[in-house]
Amino acid sequence: MDKFVGLTATACPLSLPNLNTDQILPARYLKWPRSKGLGTVLFDDVRLNAKGRPREDFAFNKDVYRGAKVLLAGRNFGGGSSREAAVYALYDHGFRCVVAPSFGDIFSQNAVKNGLLTAIAAAADIEKLAALVREKPSQPVTVDLEKQTVSGNGFSFKFMIDPISRNQLLNGWDDVDLTESYREQTAAFKAKDKTIRPWVAPTAKP
């Protein structure tokens, strides 16, 4: 996994609350392998109107936000379905950090496994930065994971992230490699557990 320490890039303000993973990536694209270009269908059902044309009132569609790596989002971003492809779509589109007042738990877990930072911040701070970004979209925003700050256009605020996710992002840890170093402990647990909870084993023959 790629490390994430910090970045300086332009931001896209999307203040709608409850952009769940069905909105980030509609279910009809879940059959796609990642190589087919999930980034190209990001937000399709919110981005397009009933006639299939880009909605003018959806900031993501505006040229000025093309190339943004930071998404300034509303409450409960990424709730709902566990589809990790929602993270692939954001990442492959170019986003590396989402700042929101709250996130779906499974989405946050999926994000950290893929090097996408989910930064939790006060709604008022995010909205203030979003307003500044709307005024000057070309001004970059800086995200610093060590200091846990987001700053841009002369405004700066702290964000929260749980220490486990922060560690994993800063170090670019790979879970599977890490788990390998616990092989003996796992084997010991398994052996002991069989005596403590013998009823766990499925009984029927397939």
């Binding site: 203040s15 709608l16 609350p17 409850n18 769940n20 069905d22 909105q23 509609p26 279910a27 009809r28 879940l30 059959k31 392998p33 990642r34 059902d45 919110v46 009933a50 509303g74 409450r75 409960n76 709730g79 709902g80 379905s81 566990s82 589809r83 990790e84 492809a85 993270v87 709250s102 996130f103 779906g104 738990d105 499974i106 877990q109 999926n110 496994k113 893929n114 709604a123 749980d162 220490p163 486990i164 560690n167 879970d175 599977v176 890490l178 788990t179 616990y182 402990q185 796992t186 647990f189 398994k190 557990d193 909870r197 013998p198 009823w199 766990v200 084993a201 499925p202 009984t203 029927a204």
Partner: protein, 470 residues
């Protein structure tokens, strides 16, 4: 004397292999369910040249993409056929038991696991599906995970997790006939909001929860994720043990008795501390429907759709306008004035035998004014419903009786609500586009869906039950 512990604490510590300095715990996984959507994870595993660590603790179910009609002739859509074949190959290559398309045990993974006795109290259960919280109904620690974590479990049978906070939701009292577990779930979600339980493991407690059947508890725990919860659970009791006895994969004979003894200790100790406590009175809960595009847009059926003009918070007012616009509703509309175009009864939330009986009790001897689809939760549920004559009631009412799968809840098997149409649905998500692009979903209980079907609009089921056995 040791500190009193919650059920969450007990389940967590029983699975903890190791804990890092930063607090991350390595947990042992007792059951891992996979489905067609798990293909990303199998690919990740193969890319590392690894194999499945514990194939005997891993079970495959074909549910997300399977057709619900015309199954005997195979799968017509080549893309969907490839998804199902991919699961057959991945499970076959890795010696994983599969409840495949033609298996008599096939169904929705969150219906099949409990039904087969694979889901037991005290287990840690994961699946690449957010509604894995369902299995918590047995006093299991069950939660949904993404593809990278599915791959990790396949390769190691373990998972790194941060311990969630503990929330207890107590519902005391008695619900009136016509009010179901779904109404309790929607009442809770409306109360704490769709993100209210984020970062928390929920334990449901109280007399109204205790008196729920296993089917009802499964519905309730299923909807934990719609309140943002990491997982939801109910402490196992006599209802749980009676349900499990004799199930194919459950312990048998004296092993079962010993298991019951161990399971009986799986309850929160008196005085155990929770990070958050919420209580509701069951007597106050009326049948509930959703009007908007998140499950917390839920109101008692006698209510009205909100009016953004009366909302002081600008962000909220903007959200209400967006939601009403998508749903094609005027502010202030009486909920019972909302006409529906179709109905759907099914999904991991409400497709078990008790759900079908509740809908049939309303539909019996009546005609549906709109078309609709009934997809039983599993092939076993389907057979049982047919033995009870429920299929006849649905068909006579004018509804279609289909095979089992995720079907119109997520729409990826081709069962879609057409754009702009309004569907009264027993499913779990009223998100934009969830049942198909442009589809308008109203969530409610099976009995309330049946009430909407016979009325042609959202309707209170209670008067329709007068003189009938609910």
């Amino acid at each position: 004397m040791s500190e009193p512990r919650t059920l969450v604490d007990k389940l967590w510590s029983a699975h903890e292999i190791a804990r890092r300095e930063d607090g991350a715990a390595l947990l042992w996984v007792d059951r891992h369910y996979v489905h067609e959507g798990s293909f990303h994870a199998f690919s990740q595993m193969k890319a590392r040249g690894r194999t499945v660590a514990e194939p005997k603790l891993t079970f495959g179910v074909a549910d997300h993409y399977v057709p619900t009609r015309g199954r005997a002739t195979g799968i017509a859509n080549p893309e969907i056929a490839a998804m199902v074949r991919n699961l057959e190959d991945n499970t076959g290559d890795n010696h994983i038991t599969l409840f495949g398309l033609r298996d008599p045990r096939q169904g929705i993974v969150h219906v099949v696991g409990p039904e087969q006795g694979l889901t037991l109290p005290g287990l840690l259960i994961v699946c690449g599906d957010s509604h894995t919280s369902t299995h918590g109904a047995f006093g299991a620690y069950a939660f949904g995970i993404g593809a990278s974590e599915v791959a990790h479990v396949l390769m190691t049978q373990t998972l790194w997790q941060k311990k969630p906070k503990r929330m207890r939701i107590t519902v005391d009292g008695t619900v009136v006939p016509g009010v179901a577990a779904k109404d309790i779930a929607l009442a809770i979600i409306a109360h704490i909001r769709a993100d209210g339980a984020q970062g928390h493991a929920i334990e449901f407690a109280g007399s109204a929860i205790r008196s729920l059947s296993m089917e009802g508890r499964l519905t309730l725990c299923n909807m934990s994720i719609e309140a943002g919860g990491r997982c939801g659970m109910v402490a196992p009791d006599a209802t749980t043990f009676a349900y499990l006895k004799g199930r194919p994969f459950a312990p048998k004979g004296s092993d079962f008795d010993r298991a019951v003894e161990a399971w009986s200790a799986l309850a929160s100790d008196a005085g155990a501390k929770f990070d958050r406590e919420v209580s509701l009175n069951a007597n106050d809960i009326a049948p509930i429907v959703t009007w908007g595009t998140t499950p917390d847009d839920a109101l008692p059926i006698n209510g009205h759709v909100p009016d953004p003009a009366r909302e002081s918070d600008a962000t909220r007012a903007n959200y209400l306008r967006e939601a009403l616009d998508y749903m094609g509703l005027a502010p202030g509309t009486k909920l019972t004035d909302i006409a529906v175009d179709r109905v759907f009864i099914g999904s991991c939330t409400n497709s078990r035998i008790e759900d079908l009986r509740a809908a049939a009790a309303v539909l019996s001897g009546r005609l549906s004014k709109v078309p609709g689809l009934v997809s039983p939760g599993s092939s076993s549920v389907k057979r049982q419903a047919e033995e009870e004559g429920l299929d006849r009631i649905f068909r006579d009412a004018g509804l279609e009786w289909a095979d089992s799968g995720c079907s119109m809840c997520v729409g990826i098997n081709g069962d879609l609500v057409p754009p702009g149409e309004r569907c009264a649905s027993t499913t779990n998500r009223n998100f934009r586009g969830r049942q198909g692009p442009g589809a308008r979903t109203h969530l409610m209980s099976p009995a309330m869906v049946a009430a909407a079907a016979v009325s042609g609009h959202l309707a209170d089921v209670r008067p329709l039950l007068a003189g009938r056995k609910a």
